[in-house]
Amino acid sequence: MHIIIVGAGEVGRYLAQILIEERHDVTIVEQDEKVARELDDRLDAQIIRGTGISREALFRAGIRRTDLLLAVTQVDEVNLIAAMTAEKLANNCRTVARVRDPRYLYGTDAIKANEYGVDFLVGPERGVADQVVKLLEYDGPGQISQIADDKLTFLELPVMPHSTLVYATLEELRPELPERSDIVASLGNDGIRLLSGADRFQVGERIFVLCAPEDMKDFLRLTGSDGHHVEKVLLIGGGDIGYHVARALQRRKFDVTVIEKDNERCEQIAVKLRKSTIICGDGTEPSLLSDQMEEGQDAVVVLLEDDEKSLLIGIMSKHLGAKKVVTRVDKREYAPIAHKLGVDALISPRRAVADAILRFVRRGHIDSTTMLGDHQGELIDFRIDKDSKHELTEIPVKQIRLPRDAVIGAIVRDKEILVPRRGDETLRIGDHVFVVALREAVSELESVFA
C-alpha cells in the first residue's frame, strides 16, 4: 500500500516506523527542515518537505496514486484540511485526521467525519481519560485493559517481591490458576518472551495475562498481586484529560485532589468539579507533593505534557509512598526505566492515537490489536468468519501452524472465554481468537488467519 503521512512528530514517526516494517510504501510530508533531514537518514521512506495543506507538496508526495493519507500533525486544522484536500485530489484514497481539541469531537460543535469527506477522525484523549479511571478502579498493580467488548481482561503485572510469582514456576502456577486465565508472555530486560512450562519469573519482570473479568480477583490473589485498592487520588495537571478523569472519579466516590498551575484553568475547573479539591500550584514542586502524600493520597496520576518532568514526579510519588502511580509519558523508550523505578502504568495520548490509526489501517480479519511493551509484541484479535480458511475450524487449535513466535492466548465465543492451555479446542465461525505474537511474527500470522 502507498501511504502518505503528514507530520513527523511523535505520532507520525511511530506510525512510519511500523508501517515501513510492514513493507508499506511510505511517504512523509514534514514542514520542519531539520526534522525532515534527520528522518531522511533514519527511515526508509520518501521525505517531502512542505505542509500538508499545500497541494504542491501533496502532489509531490504522490497523492494521485496513494491508498491512504494519515494527517497527524500537532495542528487540528492542518490535519482536517490535508485530509479534505487529499480526498479531492486523490483517485481512491482513504483519509485519517488526528484531532486533539475535544470541541471538534464532542458536543454541539463536533465535526462529523463524513461531512468533511474524511474517513476517520481520531482523538483518543477521552479514551485515555477512561483508561486512567479503569486503572484506578482496578485493585491490582500494573496495567489493565478491557478488550473484546469488555469480555476479556488483559493485564500487565509487575512481578513483585514476596508474590507467588517468584516462589512458584509457571508449571506449578498453571494448573492452579483460574481456568479462564493464563499468563501468556513476559517482559524483561531481553524484551518480550513467550512462555513455556518451565519458566519462572524474576522480580522486576512484567507478565501479560489474559483472563475472564470474573476471574481477575482470584487471579490477583493467587499470584499475590492483590491489595492495591485506591480511595484518595491526586491528579497533577488539570488539562482536558485531568478534568475528565477527575469528573469520572468524583462520580465514582473517589476522594479527588487536582493540582493545576494555571490560575485561570483552576477557576474554570473548580466550578465544574465541586466535589474535588483544586489546588492552584506547581505540581512539580517537591514540597507540595510531599505535603499531599502526607495527607494520605493512595494514588498519583501525573498528566504533565513534559515527559521527563512527568516521569520524575511519578517516581518521586512512588518514593513518597503512593500505592499506585500512573504517569503520562509519550516516549515509550522510557517505559523500562519507569517500571523499574516503581511507576505502575504509563499512558500516552500520542501512542493511543497511533494505535487507533493502526487498527484502522489493518482492519479486515483483524478486529483490534494491543501493543506489548515498546511494540516488541502484539496481542491481536482475529475474527473467524465464513471467509476464513476452512481448516481453521476443522482442526484443534494446537494443530494450527502458527509462526514460531506466536501463541493463541484466548478464544472469545459469544459471552464465553476459552483458554486453550492444551490446545484441544476447535475454532468456530464467529469466534474471536486472541493471539500473542512477537513483532516479527505479525505479518506471517496475518496470512494464517486471513
Binding site: H162, T164, V166
Partner: protein, 157 residues
Amino acid sequence: MRIAQILNPKCVVLDLEGSSKREVLEALAQPLIDLRPDVDRGDLINVLVKREEASSTAIADGIAIPHGKVSLGEEVLAVFGRNSGGLDFGSVDGQPTKLFFLLVSPESHPSLHLRWLAHIASLLKNPEFRNSLLAAETPDEVLSLIDEEERARPEPS
C-alpha cells in the same frame, strides 16, 4: 485463612541446622514426618529436593518457602524453621536464608497449594514481622506473632 490451621507448634524449629540444601530440607521435614507417620519421608524429601534443583525457593530478604505436593489425604501442612545466623540455601540474591516456611500440600487438592503459598508469601512482605520472627523465643510465640500479623491485615474477600 490462618496459618495456625496448618502449622502445629511441634513443627516450629527455632534452631534449624544443615550444611547442605538437602540437610536443611531433611531437618525441616523431620517434625512433620514425626507428627504424620502416613507421609512417606523418601517421597517428600525427593519432591522438595527436585523442586529446589529446578529453581531455588529462596528468593530474597532471607526467606525461603520450599514447597511440594505429596499424597497426603486432604490436609495442607507447614513447618516453620529458623536459623538466626542464616544458612546457605542457594538464594537468588546470594544472601544467607534465616526464615524457612515448608509447605506440603495434597496432590488430590491442587487449588489449595497456591492459596497457602500466596498467603505465606504475602505475610512475609512485612519487614517488621520478619524481624519479630527472628527474635521469637518459643514456638508458641512464633504462632502468636503469626496470628497477630494475620489479624492486622484485611481478610481477602
